[in-house]
């Protein structure tokens, strides 16, 4: 039988160390909504999502109450809209009508983000893909909760540099379209290499084409729990350090697995995966940078940081994988800047630069995430940063992503505040040398030699 110490340990994790289930995300396929008539398509999309997810929020709240564990977000991901809208949408504005439908249905079912305003263009772009990508600035500035992502590369296909170049422009245009709001539209746009089909985390979630009609994916978190556990093993060797992270990740993930199964049963929707991520929030103590500090670097960004992050990421996966029947999504440590107080402190202290963050993305679970840069950064420079990050993903057979926010009207050293979970942060310095000729070449970068495994 459970004893009082175990009960206290769990409840301390929840009450003092910010243990929570970060999101229950319902993936919904929209393939059966496709129509060549735009009005019919929008109507079908609204009805499919509403009927699938009308009980999602209430179910999440019930589970949270019964188990005493906060479930912070209830969200939806849908099939990439470039595919769903391809028959009906003849212009970018046609795609924007779908974004508005998604925004409306998301609000009507009470969720806080909906992902999947997306295109998969890792090798080439169809006309519909291009129209959707070009519609992103308008779609994100005229909706509140719709998130967009574009997969522009993969280990199997190489990197679509035309799409990379185009997205440099799209990010700048999105920043301009939302300039009255600190360019916050860009916080809802992610560029991927090797995007997973079952990611429950925003802004990059979409419901992959290989997925079932509906699915429940759950993202757990708990940087504060790992940090507290590590405080007890200060000065111990790497074996003890790694074992402690693994055990903690196991416990955290078991809660995610329980919630995922319970949500799946109650909603009558199959369980997909648990995403074993350490996802920080701006709350004090809920920081991945603080874990790195606890492991032994003065600030995130100091020499040793990449190695510390590599071991953290790997141990989280090892511990978590044993705790869940299916793992997937992004799974690992996120290193966003504006959502993590420790990262913000590291930037302000001069310890952490964009270049060091890029190195860290070689071993973390995602990429350059939530980084505010000067508003006058050229679109070709943004495309160059994207290309670098995509290359890391392609060569290392891992997911990488870029979520940069060129904040119009702000310059290096200024501060920007996006509010809530998105946090605030300093505008980071960007290398000023040009890559125009490189990104303007056009075409695609071929797949690496080690992708040919057939």
């Amino acid at each position: 039988m459970i004893n009082i110490n175990e009960v206290s340990e769990t409840n301390e994790m929840i009450e003092k160390e910010n243990l929570d289930v970060r999101t229950i995300t319902m993936g919904i396929s929209l393939f059966d909504c496709i129509s060549s008539d735009l009005d019919t398509l929008n109507k079908n999309i609204y009805e499919k999502i509403y009927n699938s997810a009308k009980n999602l929020v209430q179910t999440g709240e019930d589970i949270a109450k019964e188990f005493g564990i906060p479930i912070v977000n209830k969200r939806i991901s849908v099939t990439p809209i470039a595919l769903i809208g391809s028959a009906a949408c003849k212009t970018s504005d046609d795609f924007v009508t779908i974004a508005k439908t998604l925004d409306k249905v998301a609000k009507d079912v009470g969720i806080n983000f909906l992902g999947g305003y997306s295109a998969l263009v890792s090798k080439g772009m169809t006309e519909a893909d291009r129209l959707l990508i070009e519609s992103i600035p308008k779609a994100l500035s005229e909706t509140d909760v719709v998130c967009s992502s574009v997969n522009v590369g993969s280990t199997k296909t190489g990197i679509n540099m035309d799409a990379v170049r185009l997205l440099g422009d799209v990010i700048v245009e999105t920043a301009k379209a939302t300039k009255d709001n600190d360019s916050a539209g860009c916080t809802k746009l992610v560029v991927f290499c090797n995007a997973p089909d079952d990611n429950p985390f925003m802004a990059g979630a979409f419901h992959g084409v290989t997925e079932a009609d509906r699915i429940i994916n759950v993202g757990v978190s708990g940087p504060g729990v790992v940090k507290t556990a590590l405080e007890k093993v200060r000065g111990e060797n790497f074996e003890v350090l790694c074992e402690t992270i693994k055990k903690t990740a196991f416990k955290v993930t078991r809660v995610g697995q329980l919630v995922a199964k319970e949500a799946s049963d109650r909603l009558g929707v199959p369980f997909g995966i648990v995403d074993l991520s350490l996802a920080p929030t701006p709350a004090i103590g809920d920081s991945v940078a603080d874990i790195l500090h606890e492991i032994g670097v003065e600030h995130a960004g100091a020499p040793g940081t990449t190695a510390a992050l590599a071991l953290l990421n790997d141990q989280v996966k090892k511990g978590g994988a044993m705790a869940s029947s299916y793992v997937g999504g992004l799974s690992g440590a996120f290193i966003p800047v504006s959502e993590d107080q420790g990262m913000i402190n590291a930037v302000n202290a001069g310890a952490l630069t964009l270049e060091k963050l890029e190195a860290m993305t070689c071993v973390c679970s995602v990429g350059l995430d939530m980084i505010a840069i000067p508003g006058d950064t050229k679109s070709t420079t943004i495309a160059g940063i994207i290309a670098d990050e995509m290359a890391i993903g392609m060569i290392n057979q891992k997911t990488t992503a870029v979520r940069l926010i060129p904040v119009i009207g702000k310059k290096e050293g200024d501060t920007v505040d996006f509010g809530g979970l998105l946090g605030f942060g300093p505008i980071m310095s960007v290398n000023k040398f040009s890559c125009d000729e490189f990104v303007n070449r056009g075409g695609r970068i071929p797949a690496p030699i080690h992708s040919f495994k057939n």
């Binding site: 459970i2 175990e6 009960v7 206290s8 019964e66 188990f67 005493g68 416990k251 078991r254 809660v255």
Partner: protein, 90 residues
């Protein structure tokens, strides 16, 4: 068996267990196990109860006990046992 863990945390005072137990008895909730400690004046109790014959549903019991806790000046939480089992038992 429908096992619920009730935890009571707060400043020690007369009659905490009595009040919680009489509420449980009134609602036909059977107590399977109680453990309790006092650390530097703070009362920390855990009860494992079986709600399968309860006259009230989980949400009602949870809300009522929370309210009872406020009256006594302690924090009372009800959680289904599975969360602890998941985390601490393989």
């Amino acid at each position: 068996m429908n096992k619920i863990i009730i935890t009571v945390v707060g400043k020690d005072t007369v009659g905490i267990i009595a009040k919680v137990c009489s509420y449980l008895a009134d609602n036909s909730i059977n107590i399977l196990d109680i453990s309790q400690t006092i650390v530097s004046g703070y009362f920390n109790m855990m009860m494992i109860v079986d709600m399968s014959k309860s006259s009230a549903d989980f949400m009602n019991v949870s809300d009522s006990l929370e309210k009872l806790g406020e009256e006594i000046g302690v924090v009372i939480k009800c959680q289904r046992e599975e969360i602890f089992d998941s985390m601490h038992r393989i």
